[in-house]
């Protein structure tokens, strides 16, 4: 067991996997510097800096994966996946179906996501809703270093394409690289316990949610930073005698519908906390999940409702905050 940040845990998972599996290569802009220890260890042939050509190098990763490599592609931010969306939607996700199940594409895309450090709305999106909508992709979104490690390890043995969202606010390295930049007295609203212990032998399964806190009154469904906000809200609400169950979804595709239904059946109340856009995304899918099971909870969502503003205070209010979660929970406990 070692204590790592979420970003370090992913790095470690990659390093361990690369040392076990010669077919893994790491591709991305600036990776020789960003992942200098890997570059120093695995050399220029396995850690490949790429020009600013996301369509070409993600597309190439798909081809390389088809022909025997296992590429990991690093993006600077998930927002930039938009310039290479075709490689995702029309190629990596469809290969298996198009080939009648005969060909596979084991690509892992590592995509830092989310805001909270005042970088503006083209650099703060989560987008896991729309990406999870695409049949043929696996999407994983860790909220703890242990899950980050374990899910990455699993992804690097999986036969299909996986998108790994790395919440920047939980990755000390990204915060330093994009936000703090040497300014020592700059504070971000980073959840406590963003760092944590990692057991390097443990893999995490896809499609399995985790209950982070038990409670009988309300089910809060969340992921990534939202889980930490929800736990803080639950803590505060406990003193008002409201017991929240906090479920960390971890993986959106496949989605652990069973666990969601079990908890919602118990509490009859459901709050979705999501840093992604509200409409046509995760919160809706969760509503459908319970309705399909014939459950009829009260329901409220705490999501992002518009383009994320640059102003740091407005940004905070736009992203799901502890305050907004508490209000939402109280609202459905009263109704």
């Amino acid at each position: 067991m070692i204590e790592l940040s979420l970003g370090q845990a992913i790095d470690r998972a990659i390093e361990n996997a690369m040392s076990e599996d010669e077919s893994i290569v790491l591709i991305g802009e600036d990776v020789p510097m960003l992942r200098a220890p890997l570059y120093a260890r695995f050399g220029v042939e396995r850690v490949m800096g790429a020009p600013i050509s996301e369509s070409a190098f993600i597309g190439a990763a798909v081809g390389a994966a088809m022909e025997g490599l296992r590429p990991i592609v690093e993006l600077y931010m998930v927002d930039f996946l938009a310039v290479a969306f075709d490689a995702v939607l029309n190629h990596m996700a469809k290969l298996e179906a198009f080939s009648g199940g005969e060909w596979h594409c084991p690509v892992l895309i590592r995509a830092p996501s989310g805001g909270g450090y005042g970088d503006g709305g083209q650099h703060a999106q989560s987008l896991w809703g729309m990406l999870s909508a695409i049949p043929g992709l696996t999407t994983i979104i860790p909220s703890t270093p242990m899950d980050a490690y374990g899910l990455t390890r699993t992804a690097l043995r999986h036969s299909g394409p996986v998108i790994l969202f790395e919440p920047k606010l939980l990755s000390e390295e990204w915060l330093e690289f994009l936000g703090r930049l040497g300014r020592e007295d700059l504070e971000f609203d980073v959840p406590e316990n963003a760092s944590g212990m990692v057991n390097e032998d443990e893999f995490a399964p896809f499609g399995r949610a985790v209950t982070r806190r038990e409670g009988g009154d309300v089910t809060i469904l969340s992921l990534a930073v939202g889980v930490h906000r929800a736990l803080a809200a639950a803590e505060a609400l406990a003193s008002d005698n409201i017991q929240c169950e906090v479920i960390d979804l971890r993986c959106l595709s496949p989605l652990d519908r069973e666990s969601i239904r079990r908890s919602v059946a118990k509490t009859g109340r459901m709050v979705v906390v999501d840093e992604d856009y509200r409409n046509y995304g995760l919160s809706g899918e969760l509503a459908a999940t319970v309705l399909e099971a014939g459950l009829h909870p009260t329901f409220v969502r705490v999501c992002v409702e518009g383009t994320i503003p640059y102003n740091h205070r407005l940004e905070k209010d736009t992203l799901p905050s502890v305050k907004r979660i508490i209000e939402a929970v109280k609202e459905i406990c009263q109704s």
């Binding site: 190439a60 081809g63 060909w103």
Partner: protein, 340 residues
């Protein structure tokens, strides 16, 4: 011998396309079926340079490459028919022919064959010494961002990639010179590519260019670009309305022409010059299509090649017959008919 093998694959490809056209006419193939008639020579000459370790990333107009590569034809035809026992179990279809055994992928997204090809080349470079990847691309597709990006990527990564750019002068209804700036070989050169230029109707020319480029790529000297001009003999796809209009303006084009003329004389709209320019350009495009070589005429690359080899004493008629027989048989088997 080598030229004969190339010719054999040309002949097989042409027979294949003719058979496909028939199936298509009968309504047994759905969607947009792009015939590669006119580019059989390029496909055959390039695949002649390949080994089983090499891979191919192809476009929507891929049949000649698939045939020349030697993929068993029955599963391919069955795939076009959408059969469960087709190459991709009927799930992919004509724009999504995938063969893991033959290292072939195709895509219906214009430009996507280049990134995929670069990925094949990257895998080859790391895993199979001396193997290379071929990526086919159309002239219009070289305006697509991901294709242009790959021109840069393949050079700086020094990938064993041979791009085969088939300039048939068209992208659907758009005559290429009107919307492509500069020359494509120059474009590739500016990204540091070794470029070969070939006339897609000249078997020696294409074959030599392909061999020279493949040799360089295999030697690890980085990517190369084979630029070949070929006619688009059957329009953009089977049943192409523009081709029908050009060939039978009265029976197949009356409606279209009436509407266009209606538009040109409507009240309101732009000035006369702007309108006239538009009409003139349209007529120009139709005229250009009229001048495309037709099957069997003396600009048809197959006919040219047949003549040339025949002069050199080869028994091309026999090859043609064999090809015909092979394809007829494959079609019959695919349709589940008895084959005599």
């Amino acid at each position: 011998m080598e030229l004969v093998n190339i010719y054999r694959n040309m002949s097989r490809s042409r027979e294949f396309e003719l058979a496909v056209a028939e199936l298509w006419e009968q309504g047994l193939i759905t969607g947009e079926m792009h015939a590669s008639t006119g580019e059989e020579l390029v496909a055959a000459a390039v695949t002649a340079c390949l080994t089983a370790e090499d891979s191919l990333s192809l476009t929507h107009r891929c049949s000649s490459f698939v045939v020349a590569r030697g993929v068993p034809l029955v599963p391919v035809i069955k795939e076009l028919l959408g059969r469960e026992d087709g190459l991709c179990h009927g799930r992919g279809g004509h724009m999504h022919l995938f063969s893991r055994d033959y290292r072939i992928a195709t895509s219906g997204i214009v430009g996507a064959s280049l990134p995929t090809g670069a990925g094949f080349a990257l895998a080859a470079k790391r895993l199979r010494p001396h193997a290379l990847a071929v990526a086919q691309i159309g002239d219009g597709a070289l305006n697509q961002g991901m294709a242009l990006e790959t021109l840069n990527l393949a050079t700086v990564w020094k990938l064993p990639l041979l791009v085969v750019c088939i300039d048939n002068g068209w992208a659907i209804t758009t005559s290429s010179e009107s919307l492509t700036a500069g020359s494509l070989p120059e474009r590739a050169r500016s990204f540091g590519w070794l470029v070969g230029n070939a006339d897609g109707a000249d078997i020696e020319d294409v074959s030599q260019a392909a061999k020279a480029l493949v040799k360089n790529v295999r030697a690890g000297k980085g990517p190369a670009f084979l630029y070949a001009r070929c006619p688009r003999m059957d329009g953009h796809y089977l049943g192409d309305a523009l081709v029908r209009l050009a060939r039978h303006p009265v029976s197949d084009g009356r409606d279209t022409l009436t509407k266009v003329v209606g538009g040109a004389f409507s009240q309101g709209g732009s000035g006369l010059i702007s309108r006239a320019t538009g009409l003139t350009r349209m007529m120009g495009a139709i005229g250009k299509i009229r001048h495309t070589p037709a099957h069997g005429d003396d600009k048809d690359p197959l006919v040219i090649t047949r003549k040339r080899l025949s002069k050199q004493g080869y028994d091309v008629a026999k090859i043609d017959l064999e090809a015909q027989e092979e394809i007829r048989c494959a079609v019959a088997v695919s349709l589940g008919e008895e084959h005599d």
